[in-house]
């Protein structure tokens, strides 16, 4: 199974939207909860429609719109999105109204838009696209499930171009709940210092990232997606290594063939050890990079990593902002200087050490 990544649209806490730039400048948020840098939506949405839409819906529509333009695809043959939280802001609004009004006077808008599949539905409505439309809600595997569905749909020959995406929003209420159960750090950590943090928890994040996966290469192709694996609550590092080996060998590769690994290191002292084990043992000859200091931790953060990996291959450069300090093993330095071509990139990401995922992308 493989698919060509032919278009990308991403809204994140960094300047990633509507630009070819690849992290040449890092936005420091100085906050425990990173929020997206949003564009003006007037260009993408009729104001009459936009007035009812929550932030995450607007983000999804704008990001997918840019993605289609990038891939030069007007109507996809299928839309698959992944989200753990769905349209959280509207869900909160609706639930709060139930409580505050003693289950009376419930308004329709927040109810209609509180469902998890609202974003993919609104994308389809904007396009008048009646094709296959599915939303996966599987916590840390949500985006991964959408991508897997996309790959399988292409492999079955049922589609030529599919839109896959991941989106989740952070709200003040959700942040407070997660903070109380220890998801996030007590202290504010500067962006570039997150990797050195020795305390529990990470920083909160959010984002919407969409990709056109196609069955053929085009002028706009970023990279080829060659496979994906998910591992639920692995019992040991050996189990993780075995699954990665399976993915690599099914593509005729070994760990030594991986030029760059994109790790989901998030500064959480409880869970980062898995990444460091892989970095120092299994992928000791690969250049190590990380990304969650730029987008924060959220269930579909893998979609930000997917953008990073695609850009690494397309630009053949590694921004210094994502390079892990001592990673010079394969001759890569930073910001365009390189010793070898970036042919194969592997993403290793986990959400709370329970949902582990691996993506393999290659140059094509």
């Amino acid at each position: 199974m493989e698919g060509f990544i032919n278009g990308i649209g991403i809204i994140s806490p960094q300047k990633t939207f509507g630009t070819d730039d690849f992290l040449s400048e890092v936005v420091e948020h100085n906050s425990k909860s990173l929020r997206c840098i949003e564009p003006s939506y007037k260009e993408f949405l009729n104001p009459v429609l936009a007035r009812r839409m929550a932030r995450i819906i607007k983000m999804g529509i704008a990001a997918s719109n840019v993605c289609f333009k990038d891939a030069k695809v007007e109507i996809p043959d299928a839309i698959m999105t992944g989200t753990a939280l769905g349209c959280l802001e509207d869900t909160e609004k609706f639930l709060l109204a139930i409580i505050e009004n003693d289950e009376q006077f419930l308004t329709p808008t927040s109810f209609i838009q509180s469902t998890h599949n609202t974003v993919s539905a609104q994308i389809a409505l904007q396009l008048k696209c009646m094709n296959y439309n599915f939303t996966y809600v599987h916590k840390g595997f949500s985006f991964e499930s959408a991508v897997l569905d996309g790959l399988m749909t292409l492999a079955e020959g049922e589609a030529k171009n599919v839109l896959v995406g991941g989106h989740d929003e952070m709200t003040d209420k959700y942040y407070r709940v997660c903070d109380r159960i220890g998801y996030f750090k007590e202290e504010t950590v500067p962006t570039m210092e997150l990797i050195n943090s020795k305390t529990n928890g990470s920083i909160a994040g959010e984002g919407a990232a969409f990709f056109v996966l196609s069955n053929a290469k085009s002028e706009s192709t970023y990279a080829k997606l060659r496979g994906i694996k998910t591992i639920y609550k692995p019992k040991s590092n050996q189990e993780i290594e075995s699954k990665i080996t399976e993915l690599l060998s099914s593509n005729g590769l070994t760990a030594n063939d991986i030029d760059v690994v994109v790790y989901g290191i998030n500064g959480d002292a409880r869970f980062d050890k898995t990444y460091y084990h892989l970095k120092d043992n299994f992928f000791k000859n690969s250049t190590a990079t990380y990304f969650k200091h730029l987008c924060g931790e959220y269930q579909t953060a893998g979609s930000f990593a997917f953008w990073v990996a695609s850009k690494l291959i397309k630009t053949q450069s590694i921004p210094s902002a994502i390079l892990i300090g001592d990673s010079r093993s394969r001759g890569f330095t930073s910001d365009g200087e390189q010793g070898l071509a970036i042919k194969n990139v592997l993403i290793y990401n986990t959400f709370l050490d329970s949902d582990h995922s691996v993506f393999l992308l290659s140059q094509c």
Partner: protein, 84 residues
């Protein structure tokens, strides 16, 4: 009546997220649906809830809705006649 019309305009702007509009942009006699404000069926439900929540008025006969929601002025007249 003018005070009630002004109050309704504010409540409608807030309830329907008409962010780009100010009270003075809304003509009290302009149609709410189709032309004028260009509201739709979901907005109609929001307006029904607004009347019930803010003024304690239930619209017993749905067929009356067309007359009541013709404009902000007709809404105000209905509220004044039925307010509890």
């Amino acid at each position: 009546m003018d005070a009630l019309i002004d109050q309704l305009k504010g409540e409608i702007i807030e309830q329907l997220n008409l962010e780009d509009l100010k009270k003075e942009d809304i003509d009290a006699d302009a149609p709410l649906f189709g032309e004028g404000l260009g509201l739709d069926s979901i907005d109609a439900l929001e307006l029904i809830v607004l009347l019930e929540k803010n003024y304690g008025i239930k619209i017993a006969n749905p067929a009356d809705g067309k007359k009541i929601f013709q404009s902000i002025r007709t809404m105000a007249e209905f509220v004044q006649a039925n307010k509890k």
